[in-house]
C-alpha cells in the first residue's frame, strides 16, 4: 500500500463556524491519509471535531461553515470541484451512515425508496430497476424483502441502520463514512452491525472511516492490517497510528484516559446483604394498546418480577430496549399502574397515588440531562424546588445554603446556581440532576440510563460521583442500563431483564465472570472490549504534527 496514492487525504484541514457569538473553530488543522480498502477510526468525545472533519471535507457542514486546507479524494482535489461535481461524488464514490437512523432517515419515504433514489441519481436506473436493486441489496444485508415499503418508524433500530448502510452502499462506493453508526443501538445490535460492516469491507474492498467516542468500538473496527486509529480532542489529532500499536500502548495522556474508561472495570465488592427495605414480589405491568374504537387490549410489559434491595445497595437492572427495565422503574415510583404482584417499602405495601412524603424518599435521575431540566429555570431554582415542596420549613436563606452545599458535593462551582441548563455541558447537567434527586434526602434513587448519553470519560466521573454519594448517604441505588461496564463499576448485584422477565440475577462479579444464562452470555459477548497491557508501555510511533 506504500506506492499507491491515498484514497482520501486531508492536510492542515480546518473547519470554522460563524455563530451568534462569533467564529468558532471546530477543526484546527487535521492531517489524515487513508488508502483504498483501509479503515480509519476517529475517536473523540462530543465537540472534539471528529464528525465535522469528515462532514466538512465533503461539504456537508452547512452554510455557516468555512473550510480551509487540502482535501484529496480519489484523485480529485475536492476544493476545486464545483458544487455539482462534488454532489456527483456523494452517494456514488463515498457513502455516509449517520448516527441515529430514526432521525437520519426521511420519515415519510418508504425505506426501499430511500435506497433506490441513490441508484436513480447516480446510475441512471429507472424507478423499477432501482427498486429491484434496492430490494436485492436489502435482502443481502439481512432485511426481509417484505419490509421494502415500510416506513422507518415501522422498523427496529438495527433494521433501520441496515437500511442506512444499504442506501450508502447502493452505488458501490470506494469509501464508507460511518458517523457513530452504533451509538443509538443496543449492544447486541451494535455487535451485529459491526460484524456486517466488517464483512462488507472484506467483500467489496471498501475503505472505512468510522467515527466513535468509544475506544473499544474503534479497536473492533480496525482489526485488519494497515488499519489506523486517530484520537481527536478540541479540533486536533492528539495521537494517530496503526491501530494495533496505538491501542496496545497509548502515548498521549488523553488517549490513556480514554483507554482507561474503556477498560473492563473492576467489579464492585459484594457487601453483606442488608435488611431489605424494598421488596418487590411477582410484579406485573400491562400496557394497553388501542384496538377498535373504545376497546384496548393488554400487552404485557413486565411479568413476575421479584427482587429486594436494602440500604447502601446498588442494584443493576440490565436489558436491551424493550426489555421492560424502564417500566420497572416507573412501576416502582408509582408512575404506571401494576396489574399483578406487590411492592413493599419499609414493610408497608405501596399503591399509587403515592403520598407526598413517599415521593421525597423515591427519586429518579433520567437519561437525557438536558431534557430532564426545565430550560427556563436556573440551576439554583431547579435545585431549590424539591426543598420548597418537601422541606417547607426551610427559609429562603437555608434553601440557598443547601443548594450551594449540594452544588459543591456534586463537584460544580457555586456560580452555576444562576446559570441555565443550556449554558452547561451534558455531564455538568447530569451532576445537577443528581443533586436534584439527592437534595431532599431520598432513601432510594433510580437512575434510568443516567450515563448512557455521556462521553466515556464523563461517564466514569459520574459513576464515581454516584458511588461517593451512596457511601455518604446510604441510599438504595437502582441503576438501569444496557451497559454492563457501568453496572460492574457501580452495582453489587445485577438483574438481567429480557422481554419483561428476569432471566438472570446475582452478584455482579459472579454474573460477569461466569454467566450461566445464555442471554447474559450473549449480552456480555456483544460488549466491545479493549484488552490492553498495563499503561506504562513506551511510545514508539510518530506523534502527529502540531499545527
Amino acid at each position: 500500500m506504500t506506492a499507491v496514492a491515498p484514497l482520501f487525504a486531508l492536510r492542515n484541514f480546518q473547519v470554522r463556524f460563524d455563530t451568534a457569538d462569533g467564529p468558532v473553530a471546530a477543526v484546527r488543522g487535521v492531517d489524515l491519509t487513508l488508502a483504498a480498502g483501509q479503515a480509519l477510526a476517529i475517536v473523540g468525545e462530543s465537540g472534539s471535531g471528529k464528525s465535522q472533519t469528515v462532514l466538512g471535507a465533503f461539504g456537508l457542514t452547512g452554510a455557516n461553515s468555512h473550510i480551509a486546507g487540502d482535501i484529496a479524494f480519489d484523485g480529485h482535489d475536492i476544493r476545486l470541484l464545483s458544487p455539482r461535481q462534488r454532489r456527483s461524488l456523494l452517494g456514488r464514490d463515498v457513502g455516509f451512515v449517520f448516527q441515529d437512523p430514526l432521525t437520519a432517515l426521511t420519515p415519510h419515504l418508504p425505506v426501499a425508496r430511500q435506497i433506490s433514489e441513490t441508484l436513480e441519481r447516480h446510475r441512471g436506473f429507472d424507478r423499477t430497476a432501482a427498486r429491484a436493486a434496492a430490494i436485492a441489496l436489502m435482502t443481502r444485508l439481512g432485511l426481509p424483502a417484505d419490509r421494502a415499503d415500510a416506513y422507518p418508524h415501522e422498523l427496529s433500530g438495527g433494521q433501520r441502520q441496515r437500511v442506512m448502510i444499504a442506501s450508502a452502499l447502493a452505488c458501490d462506493p470506494k469509501l464508507l463514512i460511518a458517523d457513530e453508526p452504533t451509538t443509538a443501538l443496543d449492544v447486541t445490535v451494535q455487535a451485529e452491525i459491526l460484524a456486517l460492516l466488517d464483512s462488507l469491507r472484506a467483500e467489496r474492498g471498501l475503505a472505512l472511516v468510522f467515527i466513535t467516542h468509544d475506544l473499544a468500538v474503534a479497536a473492533q473496527v480496525t482489526g485488519r492490517p494497515g488499519d489506523q486509529v486517530a484520537v481527536m480532542r478540541a479540533g486536533r489529532i492528539v495521537e494517530q497510528g496503526a491501530a494495533e500499536a496505538l491501542l496496545a500502548a497509548p502515548a498521549d495522556p488523553y488517549t490513556r484516559a480514554l483507554a482507561a474508561a474503556a477498560r473492563p472495570a473492576t467489579p464492585r465488592e459484594a457487601a453483606p446483604t442488608p435488611l431489605p427495605r424494598l421488596v418487590v414480589d411477582g410484579l406485573g405491568v400491562n400496557y394497553r394498546r388501542p384496538s377498535g374504537w373504545f376497546a384496548s387490549r393488554p400487552v404485557p410489559a413486565l411479568r413476575d418480577v421479584s427482587f429486594t434491595a436494602g440500604p447502601g445497595e446498588a442494584i443493576g437492572i440490565v436489558g436491551e430496549s424493550g426489555s421492560g427495565k424502564s417500566t420497572l422503574i416507573r412501576a416502582l415510583l408509582g408512575l404506571v399502574p401494576t396489574c399483578a404482584g406487590t411492592i413493599h417499602w419499609q414493610g408497608a405495601p405501596l399503591c399509587p397515588p403515592y403520598p407526598r412524603a413517599l415521593r421525597r424518599s423515591l427519586q429518579i435521575v433520567h437519561q437525557d440531562p438536558f431534557a430532564a431540566l426545565n430550560p427556563r429555570l436556573t440551576i439554583g431554582q431547579s435545585l431549590a424546588e424539591p426543598l420548597e415542596i418537601h422541606a417547607p420549613e426551610l427559609t429562603a436563606g437555608d434553601r440557598r445554603a443547601r443548594v450551594q452545599d449540594w452544588l459543591a458535593r456534586v463537584g460544580l462551582p457555586a456560580s452555576f446556581a444562576d446559570r441555565h441548563p443550556h449554558e452547561l455541558s451534558g455531564g455538568q447537567n447530569q451532576r445537577v440532576n443528581i443533586a436534584r434527586a439527592f437534595i431532599a434526602g431520598p432513601a432510594l434513587v433510580a437512575c434510568d440510563e443516567a450515563v448512557s448519553a455521556l462521553d466515556a470519560e464523563t461517564k466514569v466521573a459520574i459513576l464515581d460521583l454516584l458511588l461517593g454519594l451512596q457511601a455518604e448517604t446510604g441510599v438504595i441505588l437502582l441503576f438501569v442500563t444496557h451497559d454492563f461496564q457501568s453496572v460492574t463499576t457501580l452495582c453489587q448485584r445485577t438483574i438481567v431483564l429480557h422481554c419483561g422477565k428476569i432471566v438472570d440475577a446475582g452478584a455482579t462479579s459472579a454474573l460477569m465472570a461466569n454467566p450461566t444464562q445464555a442471554y447474559t452470555r450473549t449480552l456480555i459477548a456483544a460488549m466491545p472490549r479493549l484488552t490492553l497491557p498495563p499503561q506504562q508501555a513506551p511510545a514508539k510511533r510518530e506523534k502527529p504534527r502540531e499545527t
Binding site: L89, G91, Q99, T106, H108, E117
Partner: protein, 306 residues
C-alpha cells in the same frame, strides 16, 4: 380508514348541535328583535308578524321546529328579506363566495408555499429578507386598505380590470381574489419558511444531501412534506373562512356573496339567517379539519390512522 371517516362524521353531529344551540341562545339573549325599526310597529301588527314567523311559541318549541327543518335542509324564512328563505339567500350568494374564496385559497396556498420555500432556501439572506418584509406588510395592512388601493391602481388609473360587480367575466374576479388572498399568502409564506427552516436542519436532510441529491430534489422529496404540517393545519380553518366570503371584499367590490350575511344578519336580528350561515361555517370547519387530519397521515405516516 373508512371506520375513522364514519366515526368523525357521526361525531360532527353533536358538535353542530352544540354550535346551533349556542348561536340560538346568544341571538335570543341579544336585546331587540327582527321587527325593531326606526319607528315602533303598532302592537297588533307586531303580534301578527310574530305569529306568522312562529316567534310566539315557547323557545324550546322554536328550537325544536328549527332543528326539524334543518334535518330536511330547510333553513327557515329570512326575517328581513321577506319572500326569501335563508336557503335561497345562501344558494344565491354561495357560488360567488365559493368561487372567489376557492380561487383565493388556491392562490394563497401556491404562492405562499412557493415564496416561503424561496425564503427558506435562500443562502444569501437578501431574498429571504425581501420576502419576509413583504409578508409582514401583507399581514398588517388591512383588506379594506389594500382593496381600494388595488382598485384605484388597476381599475381607475391603468384601466386594466373592472373594479366592481360581476360584469366582465373572469376579469371581474381578479381584484377581489387578489385582495382576499394577500393576507393569507403572507401568513402561509411565513409559516412555510419557518417550518421549512426547521426541517432543513434535521438529520435526514443531511442524509439526503450526502446521497448527492440536488437542492430541488432535497426540497421536493425530503423536506417539503414534513414542513407542510403547520401550513395544512392553518389551511383548514382558513379554507372555511375564505369559502364563506368576506364582508369587506364583498363591500369594496360590490359583490353578491354571503360574507355580508354574517354581519347584516346579526345587526338585523335576522335569527334564521344568522343561524343558517353559522351552520354552514361550522359544517365547513368540521369538514376541513377532517381533511387536515387525513392530509396529516399522508404528509407524515407516523401520524396516519389505520
Amino acid at each position: 380508514m373508512g371506520r375513522f371517516l364514519l366515526g368523525r362524521l357521526l361525531g360532527a353531529i353533536p358538535t353542530l348541535l352544540a354550535i346551533i344551540l349556542l348561536s340560538f341562545a346568544i341571538m335570543r339573549a341579544a336585546p331587540g328583535g327582527p321587527f325593531d325599526g326606526e319607528r315602533a310597529l303598532p302592537p297588533e301588527v307586531e303580534a301578527n308578524l310574530r305569529a306568522a314567523y312562529d316567534l310566539d311559541a315557547p323557545l324550546a318549541v322554536q328550537l325544536g321546529r328549527y332543528l326539524a327543518g334543518l334535518a330536511r335542509f330547510d333553513f327557515g324564512p329570512s326575517f328581513k328579506y321577506a319572500d326569501f328563505s335563508v336557503g335561497e339567500l345562501i344558494a344565491g350568494g354561495a357560488p360567488v363566495s365559493a368561487i372567489i374564496g376557492g380561487a383565493a385559497l388556491l392562490l394563497a396556498t401556491v404562492l405562499g408555499i412557493a415564496l416561503g420555500s424561496v425564503a427558506a432556501l435562500d443562502r444569501h439572506r437578501a431574498l429571504d429578507s425581501g420576502v419576509m418584509a413583504l409578508a409582514v406588510v401583507g399581514q398588517v395592512v388591512p383588506t379594506f386598505v389594500v382593496g381600494p388601493l388595488l382598485a384605484l391602481l388597476f381599475g381607475l388609473w391603468l384601466g386594466w380590470l373592472p373594479i366592481a360587480g360581476l360584469e366582465g367575466g373572469a376579469r371581474a374576479f381578479v381584484l377581489p381574489v387578489v385582495t382576499l388572498a394577500l393576507p393569507y399568502v403572507a401568513s402561509i409564506a411565513r409559516l412555510t419558511r419557518g417550518s421549512l427552516r426547521e426541517v432543513l436542519a434535521q438529520p435526514f436532510i443531511r442524509t439526503a444531501r450526502a446521497k448527492g441529491l440536488d437542492d430541488a430534489t432535497v426540497l421536493w422529496r425530503h423536506a417539503l412534506k414534513p414542513a407542510l404540517l403547520p401550513v395544512v393545519s392553518y389551511l383548514g380553518p382558513a379554507a372555511a373562512g375564505l369559502l364563506t366570503g368576506s364582508v369587506v371584499v364583498e363591500t369594496v367590490f360590490g359583490l353578491p356573496g354571503i360574507g355580508r350575511y354574517f354581519v347584516q344578519g346579526a345587526i338585523n336580528r335576522d335569527y334564521t339567517l344568522v343561524l343558517g350561515v353559522v351552520v354552514l361555517y361550522g359544517a365547513l370547519i368540521i369538514l376541513f379539519n377532517l381533511l387536515v387530519d387525513i392530509l396529516y397521515g399522508w404528509l407524515d405516516p407516523r401520524l396516519a390512522r389505520r
